[in-house]
Amino acid sequence: MLIQQPSTISADEVKLPPSKPARTFPPSKAGTLFLTSGIVSLLFGMLFGLLGSVQYLLPDFLAEAIPFFKTRPLHVSLVIAWIFQGAAGSIYCYAPASVKRPLFSEALARVHWILFVVTGLGIVASYAFRHFGGREYLEYPIWFAIPITLSWCLIIVNYFKTIKESLSKYPVYIWMWGTGIIAFLVTYLESYLWLFNSVQSNTVRDITIQWKANGAMVGSWNQMVYGTAFYLMERISGNKDTSRSRLTFFFYFLGLTNLLFNWGHHTYIVPSATWIKNVAYIISMTELLILGNIIWNWRKTLTDAQRHFHVVPYRLLLASDVWIFLNLALSILISIPAVNFYTHGTHITVAHAMGATIGINTLILLASAYFLAITIYQKSVTSKLFNVGYWLTNISLLVFWISLLGAGIVKSLQAKHPFSIDPYEKYLEQSLIWFRAFSYSGFALLIGLSILSVPLLRIFINKIRARSN
């Protein structure tokens, strides 16, 4: 895609030199457990995603046993659970080494993991038995929110007790992890405000708040994931200046401003206050600066790429950089009200959601998992297999993304306004070719991501076993 592969990778095994801080602060076992269960969630989540995409083509396929109203929540909950587990696992593993202090409490981290996994299994079971909370994205029965909230409080305590001293002297990733952890709790609680009557009995308010909470919640996990990317880049390049520079902090605050105020671009079509939408529009456009910065840094990225291309985690970060660029360009485009009017509620939104959660979040978190496996645990992976997984993932994701955009454009062209697609059957027929491409490339994507993630699973499970003995 970008760079020719240098000859250094021709050997069959890829191994990296040991890194010192890892020795002094061994990665938390709970962190490894989180990454392991995260990968399992990803694999199952993708299976349900694939099933959902097949049901676009064949509505009767498994329609009795696992109808779409089960496949979608199973898919979305499991893949989002992967992102949270990958992020929490990375934070537990890397925060101690970053601040040169041991994790405040490994036991607390394990309790967090157990609570998370047990709650997750409970949620899967409740979907299987058709018990839903029925709120978009958080489709499980509401009482699961209690263990989720409690378990999240554990990581808050653990993280802030670990970094202990004032945040101010620390690099940007320590800020980002902290911001993400707190922002998740706030937005998660906010997403349950509908339990109050003044929200539940006023749908416009309910939907406005739901978009506010969901939009910012995505920002919260992005902070955790991007923080991890900064940490990995620092460790790979050995350059400690970037994550402490003024410019980096400028972009951190810009990102935070977007997290707090840009969600309103989801509500252009909701009859709520106009000023919120104007604020959102202006703030969303500041992302152009982020886009500009990526282009500005492109040359440096290319030099870095030549230098670090043999480093497996780096290659995943490099690919995520390309995906950041593509998705950011798309996000900015669909944040323009006149465009949003036609694209909202089409598969362009799905392209935006999955493009970012796979191309950006998943690739960065896999980079993190590879860093743990190769650099810290000193295990090797087969480079040929990695290459196949890497290219299969990226190419199929591109086709996947374009096919969702294609289906979205077909719908946008038919819509008189965001809520009128008539007849719906006709739209489905016209988009069939795009949905086919979506499903086929989704299958290839599942294979690609499995090739990348299954070897990690083996390494982590062996490591966890070895440590328990």
């Binding site: 109203f69 979608r72 029925g134 489709e139 708040i209 106009t274």
Partner: protein, 123 residues
């Protein structure tokens, strides 16, 4: 950037966020003629909408899954008898839930209510 500067910026952002959040919760979505309160039947419909997870396939105001149509203005475009019939029977792509008449009425009331708030999108 000096250490204190970072905290000042953070503090300023948080204060703005609190003020902004308080107004989002209360302003611009007040009950009015175009945004009436859900009555008991419509609330019951909303609860059923959640119980049956209709939003996994349908959107309201663009929020929800994408395999089925957005239902924000279905009632004004096609009428409540039509909506109720579909809810009761399902379609080729929509499951036949075995929903009762009374439940279908409540869900239709909820959809009518949502429709009545979508004042900008009447054909």
């Amino acid at each position: 950037m000096r250490r204190n500067d970072k905290f000042l910026i953070l503090l300023a952002l948080l204060v703005m966020f609190l003020v902004y959040t308080a107004s989002v919760y209360t302003r611009g979505t007040e009950l009015s003629e175009n945004n009436p309160m859900l009555d008991t039947a419509a609330i019951q419909g909303k609860v059923l909408w959640q119980k049956y997870n209709c939003s996994s396939c349908h959107q309201l105001y663009g929020l929800g899954g994408f395999i089925g149509p957005d239902l924000t203005t279905t009632i004004s475009r096609k009428g409540d008898a039509y909506a109720k019939a579909i809810i009761l029977s399902g379609t080729k792509r929509m499951p036949h839930y075995g929903i009762t008449e009374q439940e279908a009425d409540a869900i239709t009331k909820f959809l009518s209510y949502v429709d009545s708030t979508a004042i900008h999108y009447k054909r």
